[in-house]
Amino acid sequence: MPVSLVRIDDRLIHGQVVLGWARVLKADRIVVANDRVAGNDWERRLYTASVPPQLAVSFLTIEDAARRGLEGHSVVLLFESVADLHRAFVAGAHFEEVNVGGLHYHEGAREVLPFVYLSEDDRRLLKDLIDRGVKLIARDIPGNPAVDLKPLLLHAGTRPSGGI
């Protein structure tokens, strides 16, 4: 699945994605891979309302996103959680690089970066992705520095010195 950006962001479509990434990458489509939203009419309408008309939006289940080819499109592919992205990967979607764009505080999670909080389960799944050759880059918007998550995952809970 050749996509411009694969991103984990608990807010899915919002300003950073539309005005930050999709604009800079000149994407022509945003794909939301999320089982709940794919089956929820008002959430689909609301997410669509925040996207300018020249940008197409699709809502797929995790399984469909893993299976469906998106060739020929410049796509921003969004997942809500580490678990969702990991499920897609295991189901056959192979990503070389994943942008970790926003995972705010959730149950049992600890701060890794101001916009990245990870639980033990998140860490385990992310380490598994690293073992499978995926590069994990934390970056909220294109203008900010890219932070490699790998060393941060190996040294639990610490922030990079002189980093972001």
Partner: protein, 130 residues
């Protein structure tokens, strides 16, 4: 008194309330909420707990724009509490109109009146027509 809950990105809500106080004079019953650093469930929970703290007092929810994580949380509230009006596109004239009218205009007409003021404040300024 009708309460206001203003939900925005960054410090906009807080500054709208503070700035309105400079124009209108001091007032109570307006709650500023930011989405900064909050997951969607956390933002929804914060708004929900403000609504609960009102203990049945009526309120109007304002959000900065249609779409986005703030509006998402407010739409979720609207689905759960259809009696609470949610107005997107809040600006300073709209908030001032709310302060001015909340205790005099009937609650069911309040959203339309403040939207009218908010929209009416957006104009191309023409010195000939002021």
């Amino acid at each position: 008194m009708v309460a206001g809950i203003i939900v925005t990105h960054g410090r906009l809500a807080e500054e709208l309330v503070e700035t309105a106080k400079r124009v209108y004079g001091d007032f109570a019953g307006c709650h500023a909420v930011t989405n900064e650093g909050k997951s969607p469930p956390a933002l929804h929970q914060e708004i929900d707990s403000i609504v609960r703290s009102l203990e049945g007092e009526r309120c109007v929810v304002f959000v900065d724009f249609l779409g986005g994580s703030c509006c998402h949380a407010c739409t979720r509230l609207k689905i759960e509490r259809s009696d609470i009006p949610v107005v997107a596109g809040v600006n300073l004239p709209m908030l001032l109109a709310f302060l001015n009218k909340r205790d005099t205009v009937p609650f069911d007409r309040l959203p339309a009146e403040i939207i009218d003021r908010g929209l009416g404040s957006i104009q191309l300024v023409d010195p000939e027509r002021i």
